[in-house]
Subunit: 462 residues, 2 copies
């Protein structure tokens, strides 16, 4: 398959320009103001699948944003790869921290990306990584290198919890039948340290509201005499971690999988520099659960973070007010065996239960999903490993990610197949942050590596 390299060389500029066009559409699924843009993006994905050689390409309506489906069945007796990705993106705010507008992609060189990187919301997560699969498909069909059947399922609600995808999968088990699911929505350790993600954390995302008096109050006339909803909220949130940064919600850790010392020792072998990590974030110290390393804290341990907080006067200058209401968005990352719905219930009853007198507290679940672990002795994992060996010249390292792709656990449950997470992004790509970007080298390396996966997977399945 030496022709993949020359194919990339010949079509590189077009591959970049097509991705840039895709990145220009603000497909923010969390904000209903962008509805038309999200739908427009689905149309563009549909067209790109047709051009890449897919058949029966369709926009599947759901109660939310549609799922784009396409397939190429060359022989029912051959294995089938199901590619999953998403065309929606995270909201870009805070906008003022972007060096260029989030939906006007620009290519800039960085220290880690001397060949250039595309800066835009969704560049890496997940438009860039998803589109690698579309371009790999184009290569395989155009050059007669497609060794098996392919199904594409690209959704528009990953950033808001994939609720409608779950319904779709349950309703279309036969249509989506496959031998392995392939996803690029994770990262790798470094450009010279390829890795395959073998674990994902689950997620429970909730919004909390504390209500005090029936109106905002003058802080002089009422200060000290009534419960201040913001002060109460800070006290309630603060109480969710103890002095060792353990989460205090009763029952929270009951089902957490405890890794053996041997497993933890194996994990600790992955190349990691605490100094570089701190330097990249410009912080003087790390912070986390007592008794665990940084790499354990953000992969095998569950966490609780406030993602947003607001209440009272937040404008210029000063206003001496006691707000009637205070809010926070809180997410918990969960590890395998923790059930996200159970954890959401535990959070809700605990948080509402610790509300002091004088306020009312309401917890509203947003969305969530289960964690996932994939074995490294499956044919899918081995095929992926061989693909990386050919294009990177190195065996990839299996690693657990701290992130979540809630739908992966559901895929296994409903479709009875394993998911292989071949990520080509870097931690420094700033996904979900201002100035998100994706290295051109990484983008093209993904397009180069993916066809080898198909080849090895098909051979090993025979």
């Amino acid at each position: 398959m030496s022709n993949i390299q020359s194919y990339i060389t010949n079509h590189k500029d077009r591959f970049l320009n097509e991705l840039i066009e895709l990145l220009k559409i603000p497909s923010i699924s969390a904000d209903s103001a962008y509805k038309d843009d999200v739908l427009k993006t689905a149309d563009l994905i549909k067209d790109s699948l047709v051009k890449a050689g897919c058949e029966h390409v369709e926009i599947c309506q759901t109660d939310g944003y549609p799922i784009v489906y396409g397939e190429k069945i060359i022989d029912p007796n051959l294995p089938t790869v199901l590619v999953y990705g998403h065309y929606d993106v995270q909201p870009p705010d805070p906008l003022n921290l972007w060096n260029s507008p989030p939906f006007e992609p620009v290519i800039k060189n960085t220290k880690l990306h001397p060949e250039g990187a595309i800066f835009a919301r969704g560049a890496c997560d997940d438009k860039g990584q998803m589109y690698m699969h579309v371009k790999a498909m184009e290569f395989m069909t155009n050059e007669g290198e497609l060794p098996c059947n392919v199904k594409f399922m690209i959704e528009g609600e990953e950033e808001v919890g994939s609720v409608n995808l779950a319904h779709y999968v349950k309703a279309n088990r036969e249509k989506l039948k496959n031998d392995v699911i392939l996803i690029s929505d994770t990262g790798m350790i470094a450009k010279d340290v390829p890795s395959i993600t073998t674990g994902l954390r689950g997620l429970s995302y909730v919004e909390v509201k504390v209500t005090g008096s029936n109106r905002d109050l003058h802080s002089g006339l009422y200060g000290g005499a009534v419960a201040n909803p913001i002060n109460v909220l800070t006290k309630m949130i603060a109480s969710l971690h103890d002095e060792n940064n353990h989460i205090t919600i009763p029952g929270f850790y009951d089902k957490v999988e405890n890794l053996s010392d041997a497993e933890r020792a194996e994990m600790a072998k992955a190349p990691f520099s605490l100094e570089d990590y701190k330097k990249a974030l410009d912080i003087d110290a790390l912070h986390g659960e007592e008794g665990y390393t940084t790499n354990e804290r953000n992969s095998i341990r569950p966490t609780l973070d406030v993602n947003g907080i607001w209440g009272g006067y937040t404008g210029e200058g000063a206003k001496t007010v006691i707000a009637s209401k205070a809010y926070a968005k809180i997410s918990m990352r969960l590890v395998p065996n923790q059930d996200w719905e159970e954890i959401t219930d535990l959070f809700k009853s605990h948080f509402e239960g610790i509300a002091p007198k004088g306020v009312t507290v309401k917890v509203t679940p947003h969305h969530g999903g289960q964690g996932y672990v994939t074995p490294i002795d499956s044919i899918g994992y081995k095929a992926a490993s061989k693909a990386y060996e050919q294009t990177f010249g190195k065996t990839p390292i299996p690693q657990r990610s701290g992130g979540s792709i809630p739908i992966v656990a559901l895929f296994e449950q409903e479709l009875k197949s394993k998911t292989i997470l071949m990520g080509f992004g870097l931690d420094s790509d700033a996904i979900h942050s201002p100035n998100e970007h994706f290295g051109i080298w990484n983008y093209l390396k993904g397009i180069e590596t993916i066809p080898y996966f198909y080849k090895h997977f098909t051979q090993m399945k025979k």
Copy 2:
């Protein structure tokens, strides 16, 4: 002076319409977007003082918004009353909680105000209460009832700390020389329970910022491994009160004046219903410093309240982000003898000192002012008391307010005269809140009562 009642009856509609015109201008001093409106309001005040019979009326420029000055010196040997008020208003947000736009005044009847109340930002605080003095002045000059000299000093920065007024007062001690200062920027207990405010709390207002990493981070990839600035901020704020709701800043209470049991027993005599108080605010319980009553908590005890908090994603839906920065606006109400600059320093060093590793914390002082207590045996207090007796038929009750007018302590220091706080608003007027209003009965009662103060004060000074 029986003519005051007929004068009010004859001019009532005009008095209301003039106030409504004044309330239409959004003179929000905290927000620089309203600069032109604040300046326009100063011009309107200038014109109204001229029409009321003041001489030498001028707009005095400062480094901020101007001070409107006017006077009427009828005889240098007679006493002089200095009237202070402010023409700026608090920001109106949250706008969605107003039943009518804050700068489109409307008159509506309420349970407490069956004669109608004007709903608008500034209706009570302080345009309405300040304008009572302008109309009382008009009556006294038009009807030959002005018994002494008058000076008006109306500023435009009370809601942002009166910094430039302080400079102005220090630079114009001779010009502002007076025998008593008269202010209506406080409330009274009830329409049938007149009261004179004898104490004001001091104020220290600060903004705090917690900074973690150099950019927003993905909460999956970094959650649990780095200090989350919002979580840290909630923990820091929560630590500012202990389990008895005492403020934990070292040295905070050192200079707090402790009232004797006799004084507290005297205070407790003021009519007050806990049940009505809770009902009016729609809360099931009160909350405050252990060992003190509600009326003590909001008057003779210092407090600490968060007035605003923000950080991370606060839009629709969910975003799994760890914000780089989190902010809060915090104010402390202080009691006499607590020095606001000393307390600001104590707060700053304590709060910055408790910052955990992994974040940086910055405290920026906004503004502040000293508390104030006025004796009830002064001529000014006695004259005010007699004035209320004549128009309300009852002796007013002296009461300490929880609010702050930071400039009052400075007046005494620089001008060596006492301030009399004749407030005609009610606690339920929702100053600083949505749907601020001022009863028409209260407005006219103020205009009726003020001339009696001048009369009695002049007589008693002779």
